[in-house]
């Protein structure tokens, strides 16, 4: 019996070493490439919502993290990528969440810039994650419908806020036939994030870059009143 225990244990152990070693080797071999791929994907999305001629910094490597912001609809840590041109703030790409989707939360990222009169221009919006009903609510997904592109180049003006809504609520955005809740949620989320940016623009750009940290510190924002 002792022999059985010893030999089985040793053999299994040897195999464990070999197989884990193989994995380790592969991991080291691919880690760099994987990292690049992930960066590239993020870059792709950011490029889509923030025209690259507007800024000259590396968007992916310049961000702050905020959390627990009612305006951004989530308690999770959400990143804000900062775009600068000649070190001057240009705009941000904000990860945000629409908590009131028909089937749960919708995660999206919004590219925002400000114009001279401090109105917020929406450069583009992309959906990162959603669980909306296929065939109805999932038209917010670019793969299904180009609806999300209708946000591009929209401006949020303080006095015309109420037009930033779905048509059923008297706004300018189409809802889909048979589904109002989803687009409404998305429109509202975009609107909130724009207003958020408008409010905290200075603080966001004042904060230090935390993107390259392993565990980025969460930026605490102060309201104007304080």
């Amino acid at each position: 019996m002792k022999r059985s225990i010893a030999s089985n244990g040793l053999i299994l152990s040897a195999f464990a070493l070999v197989t884990s070693g193989l994995i380790a080797l592969t991991y080291f071999g691919t880690a760099e490439q994987i990292n690049q791929q992930q960066q590239a994907k993020l870059q792709g999305i950011l490029n889509a919502i923030m025209p690259s001629q507007l800024y000259d910094n590396n968007l992916v490597h310049d961000c702050v993290v905020v959390s627990d912001q009612p305006a951004l609809g989530s308690h999770d840590a959400q990143r804000i990528y900062r775009a600068t041109l000649n070190s001057q703030p240009v705009g941000v790409a904000i990860e945000t969440t629409a908590p009131d989707g028909y089937s749960g939360k919708i995660k999206l990222v919004v590219g925002l810039t400000t114009d001279n009169s401090n109105n917020v221009n929406i450069q583009g919006v992309r959906i990162l994650e959603h669980n909306e009903t296929p065939g109805l609510g999932d038209k917010i997904d670019l793969r299904v419908s180009p609806w999300i592109l209708s946000f591009a180049d929209k401006t949020i003006e303080s006095d015309k806020l109420k037009y930033f809504a779905v048509k059923k609520d008297g706004g300018q955005f189409d809802q889909f036939t048979g589904a109002t809740i989803t687009p409404r949620a998305v429109v509202n989320a975009v609107k909130r994030s724009a207003l958020f940016y408008q409010q905290y623009q200075q603080q966001i750009f004042a904060a230090s870059n935390t993107c390259l940290q392993n565990k980025p510190t969460v930026l605490t924002l102060k309201t104007a009143e304080e």
Binding site: S4, S7, N8, I11, L12, F15, A16, T19, S20, L22, I23, T26, Y27, G29, T30, Q33, I34, Q37, Q38, A40, K41, P134, G135
Partner: protein
């Protein structure tokens, strides 16, 4: 040669892991929304199958019977992880769309099934070939199912080929028809079940038809009746 032919026949048709053994259904049903997804997962599975079959066959002499399953599992897990890392590195977008199902290859019973049933009893070359054929058989089913579902659900074929083959492949996409109300159930999991069931039915139908054709000339077999007792 005969052995190889036999292996091909077994893997591709007769003992197809997906249609006959019904193994690996979880990734099969979940990832076959499009043809390219099916192809991607199929290729990944094939790679793992070849690798694990080869490895298992190579080490089969040194594996005691009692711990063979853990060893096989470790080998398979290692190969899956390696494939996962490689795909993550080199076919990133496909990896993104296949998502969780790559690690799930570990639990694909087709792989451990082949390791246990074939690779652990046969030489390396044959085992690798068996892995290739089983993998191809699996891939073919994934592609067929994916194609069926893609056409019904999206009206397209080969959409997303660029994920697998690079940008040039985007022109491979064929739009079969355009509709405002696609047959959504096809790309949802229930559609996978229905499609799978129909595929199995078709396969069995084909088998029956073939059997009927080949049974037309049964070769007369002369059986010598054994005498239990001495005949006087």
């Amino acid at each position: 040669m005969h052995e190889l032919k036999q292996l091909s026949w077994q893997g591709l048709w007769k003992n197809n892991p997906a249609l006959v053994q019904l193994l690996g259904l979880c990734p099969l049903l979940a990832t076959t929304a499009t043809l390219i997804n099916g192809l991607g997962l199929g290729l990944a599975t094939t790679m793992v199958l070849i690798g694990s079959n080869t490895a298992v066959s190579a080490i089969r002499r040194w594996v005691p019977n009692e711990i063979r399953i853990p060893i096989f599992v470790m080998i398979i897990a290692a190969f899956v992880t390696v494939v996962q890392l490689l795909m993550n590195a080199y076919t990133f977008t496909l990896y993104q769309s296949l998502g969780i199902f790559i690690p799930l290859i570990v639990t694909n019973c087709a792989i451990i099934g082949r390791a246990e049933a074939y690779a652990s009893k046969n030489p390396v070359g044959l085992a690798a070939y068996d892995g290739l054929m089983m993998g191809l058989g699996f891939t073919l089913v994934l592609m067929t199912l994916g194609g069926m579902r893609e056409i019904l659900g999206y009206g397209t074929l080969f959409s997303g080929a660029n994920l697998l083959f690079g940008d040039w492949a985007s022109q491979l996409e064929i739009r079969v028809f355009t509709t405002d109300s696609p047959f959504l159930v096809a790309i949802l999991p229930p559609g996978a079940f229905l499609g799978m069931g129909l595929l199995i039915a078709l396969k069995n139908l084909g088998d029956n038809k073939m059997e009927a054709v080949f049974a037309a000339k049964p070769k007369p077999k002369n059986v010598q009746r054994a005498r239990v007792t001495a005949e006087t």
